[in-house]
Chain length 375, copies 4
Amino acid sequence: MGRAHSNAWKKATLFFDLPFEPVLKVACGRKKEELDKFAKRWSWAETETDWRKMIARDDIDIIDIAVPQSLHFEIAVEAAKAGKHIFCEKPMAMNSEQAIEMLRVCEENNVIHYLNHNYRRVPAVALAKKMIADGLIGDIYHWRSSYQQDWITDPDFPITWQLKKEWARAGPHWDLNSHCVDLAHYLIGPIKDVTAITTNFITERPIAIEGSTGNLKGRASEGQMEKVTVEDAALMLVNFSNGAVGSFEATRFANGRKNKLSFEIYGKKGSLTFDLEKMNELGYYAVDDQEQLRGFRTILVTEDNHPYMENWWPAGHIIGYEHTFIHAVADFISAISEQNSISPNFHDGVEVIKVLEAGLQSSYEKRTITLNNNP
Amino acid sequence: MGRAHSNAWKKATLFFDLPFEPVLKVACGRKKEELDKFAKRWSWAETETDWRKMIARDDIDIIDIAVPQSLHFEIAVEAAKAGKHIFCEKPMAMNSEQAIEMLRVCEENNVIHYLNHNYRRVPAVALAKKMIADGLIGDIYHWRSSYQQDWITDPDFPITWQLKKEWARAGPHWDLNSHCVDLAHYLIGPIKDVTAITTNFITERPIAIEGSTGNLKGRASEGQMEKVTVEDAALMLVNFSNGAVGSFEATRFANGRKNKLSFEIYGKKGSLTFDLEKMNELGYYAVDDQEQLRGFRTILVTEDNHPYMENWWPAGHIIGYEHTFIHAVADFISAISEQNSISPNFHDGVEVIKVLEAGLQSSYEKRTITLNNNP
Amino acid sequence: MGRAHSNAWKKATLFFDLPFEPVLKVACGRKKEELDKFAKRWSWAETETDWRKMIARDDIDIIDIAVPQSLHFEIAVEAAKAGKHIFCEKPMAMNSEQAIEMLRVCEENNVIHYLNHNYRRVPAVALAKKMIADGLIGDIYHWRSSYQQDWITDPDFPITWQLKKEWARAGPHWDLNSHCVDLAHYLIGPIKDVTAITTNFITERPIAIEGSTGNLKGRASEGQMEKVTVEDAALMLVNFSNGAVGSFEATRFANGRKNKLSFEIYGKKGSLTFDLEKMNELGYYAVDDQEQLRGFRTILVTEDNHPYMENWWPAGHIIGYEHTFIHAVADFISAISEQNSISPNFHDGVEVIKVLEAGLQSSYEKRTITLNNNP
Amino acid sequence: MGRAHSNAWKKATLFFDLPFEPVLKVACGRKKEELDKFAKRWSWAETETDWRKMIARDDIDIIDIAVPQSLHFEIAVEAAKAGKHIFCEKPMAMNSEQAIEMLRVCEENNVIHYLNHNYRRVPAVALAKKMIADGLIGDIYHWRSSYQQDWITDPDFPITWQLKKEWARAGPHWDLNSHCVDLAHYLIGPIKDVTAITTNFITERPIAIEGSTGNLKGRASEGQMEKVTVEDAALMLVNFSNGAVGSFEATRFANGRKNKLSFEIYGKKGSLTFDLEKMNELGYYAVDDQEQLRGFRTILVTEDNHPYMENWWPAGHIIGYEHTFIHAVADFISAISEQNSISPNFHDGVEVIKVLEAGLQSSYEKRTITLNNNP
């Protein structure tokens, strides 16, 4: 994440005409040696191992929070109190109380807050949003989504922080469904009620050998096992306030799926499909196409007139994962410059966390949970 | 359905080496004129408008029930009592009481009963079953399925018997999910509990002009409306007895999807994908493939060594929808000849109906329903 | 081929409203025992091992020629002289002299002649034709086609009649390119000049053990080899009279391709793509689609309003290879009834054979061959 | 191109561990104002409008030639004479005489020369190369490629330098086929003979309004037309020295294809497919896969163990077009550091140009041209 963020901060002004250029001032981390090496490569001016000291500085305007979610709350609250604008990774927090408080403090201190559900800024997703807003899809009947990975299907894969409740709050439901719920909010609208089940396929895992867990690739030690305290998969059904129904599936046990966030949207006038592993493409079916000639079309979203794409390459020359971060940074800088809010932000994040919490509650209580959307 | 069944009875012996040849003896229907025309075209020897008279005949061994599900119970019970073997369309019945009784009477009378969840006999599906049985997929984590159509997205599409509870019991949950639940039972195993939601997008529809409803294409009359009494979409989550989790979505409101039954199966050793609109293909990911070279492959299931395919054309020459009926008839005739049972049958059908009923109950009561699998 | 043809003759009247019903009168073949068995299964009334005797009968109106191409000429000429209508397999003949004479005799005797380039009657192909005729594609720039199979990539695969010049005239160029050239004529127009190369990958093969060659699956005998006297692959470039350029590739050495006839058409207003292994689908790109939303769409050609499809199943229920034969028989019977010509016929066949001959000549002489289209 | 190159020079050391960091010293261009703006954004230290002065400087080690091909010869020869290492865009030169001389001068002056056929460094293409080298594909039978774009299908699209012979030498044959021929050399081997046709669909075009031609999007002036002096499409067949046959199609008239370079490779043991518009995927068919389970698989080339990918993101997070330039720069810097040659270089470029020249000659003379591969 440090690389993806640093790259975005450096690259945004090269490809986008922005009102000012971000300065990479202080890189913050716990391990001094690694941190210095990282900062040197990415030309961060300084390093710091105590995030409170970093926030205390006067020469910093923006705090980019790219740490595990268990740390978001404390950092974000302090940063907001110090008047820093916030660029925060997802999932936003460990629970809705934290999220609501993060939002409150930001609003109180008038800082701009951005929550990095970065897939809103995939050009194909932004185009989908535009098409829905333009009425091309009509009243929406169905949202069908899944986020599938396969990095822990091997029972010998050692335990990581992502598999421990105290660090992660939950498993793919928190990590992956948060993306899908944010997209559903963005593209379909608010969720009224939630019905979910969760499960575990592997209940304990070996402890990783010290220092071997970089990049999710730790080697397992022999014999010592630790309990997995988050779910391995989460499935969720929802009713949206506008009458649509939706489904979500998040798992790290879908062999062959590396980072497959996919959604299907079916509306009265048209349908849309998307798959993050083919992120430059958007599927579209138009009911109004001439009879006989209707069919799902694949829009290669790389044209000048597609969202964000005039800043990149000629048509047909695709972009990748990291570009979503650059789009986010570009929009965030513009928002700061114009004193505007940007979406998704902590308000959006609160709504996502509420839905995720309701999902966990539903899975525990084995019943539908209605969301209170009027706090 | 009459055409698809008649075609299968006529064609099975042409392409399969069967122990005997079925004789198309009596075609039964309500409307004499249409029936005679149909019988003549398909060379049925006689016609009959009273199904009880047909069942009473001594010169008939098999009753093929291809009528709406509200009529299955009565006909099947009478046929079984008369000692006829039964080839029955799905969904099996209006409720589990009917289904259980149908099964009981068949067993009591020692007749062979077949329930036409015909998609088990798509060669790609039969191959999937074989692969799972051979251990190629390993312990199964996920079943993800949907059955999507779009024939009633137009609110002006007139009401049909499929949209009335008294004729159909339920909507796509009964009609489409029954296929998917049968496949899930076949490929994954028994279901332990069910959590579901259902919804309606269009609550009333025009009444069709008399005689205009053939082939789901009725013209609407003006002004006269009738209430839709079944759901328009049904979404369901399940836990399987073996620890897998599963999801089902059935809808007639997915614009662009004509007859898209699709499933994904993720297991410890491999994954499978299928889409009925591309029914000659099976997707397969093998964890044991050489590292670097892993990927979902598309098996074109048209080779001599694929299930049923040695009876058809050279490799690469695809087959279609109607062939599943021919495979069913061929296996049914063999089963009768060998005095064997055939799957799926009324036993399988009872299990499907129980799951579907639990799904409806779950959607009404907004809670998970545990199935009693030990009657 | 006997099965595919018999099936079509039997089935056409079941699914199409035809002016008369074909009677399966005499099945003709060389091996009496096999023939009788075949005739019984398919309910041919009689059998005959001497085709001249069959043609001499008064009670036969149609001769269906489904034998290797080396025999077409003699049979077709005799049949035409006897006033029989002709349904003839492709490739039409061994050379253009034969083909021209076959056409001449048919015209002289006023018989209706049909040449079974059956892929014109794939609904997706017929739809492509209609779209081009309706002006949806505009002036055509490119035709890009290939026909790929893989049944002889194994050098131990024994020699068959298809690999011997005296039986087949040529290899995939004759067998496969004939289909593609016919489709190019149908969809694009006449060809002006031809530039081709051919090659052999395996120059000799084992002789098959007697009686083991059914269904292209002979076992090889040890030691005895025979020379392959046709090409293994043929590649061809053409200029069409209307200014389009085209390419053709025919091979039996494309591992993984079972029966992949594919084409791409690029025109001023739109583009089309087709793949026989997914024969129910047609790809279409419309230049006139709204900017931002352009993309290749996949038309699932199974709707009532698609060519031939109102006679089959509901939308989304696909058909297969054998249906092209049924469509051909239905149209042929109608043509006879209405005393109309039908396409493709021997006239079309002559044009195909001329192009194929020019291709062979070009590959021998290593230069472009201009066709004389004004005989 | 300036952006893609600058980005690569800046970014290579961020993602790759390189022996030294390139300094962006002097940006050179004709138009002072635009150049200064560009240099500022990309942090080039200085600018220069006279390329000879730039080459004359002592403080420069590398010359990156990213100008139209008509200028390559002069600049490359001067740069080599000055002892600069050369990173050169393709197509290499206007003819083989130029190319041969460029190579000669580079070798004489011991400079490292790299020719930017960048698609060799798409990870999927590099993986294909490795698989062929490892023997997974076996003896190769077929290469089938095309490079399709659609940016000039509109007859009103104004003329650009790419459509003028004096600037571009030829059309898509030079621009696009050069990529495909380079890949064919890389993946299959040397070409023995060439047979080609070329054509023009639009023979004259409007002259663009001054200053409006940026990014291939000029507005046409009214009335003034200029002759197109290069071909619009080029089709080419080849025999490779190893016995394989190949085909190439290059066009700017394939509506719906934005930047579709695709190839298929068929060998004795396996097959490969690639499409630049889906550049993170490689298709693979293995003859040795278990019978019944064979099929083309899609390898998502984003794993740590795939070429170049350990430097990027977790599996399933795709990369894009610009990354090929970064890979090239990284390898080029390593080559300089280790005093090694790098491929493709001017030697490879000479071979490509010879094939392209033979293609043009073949199209003029309407006959096969045999290459003299032993100069």
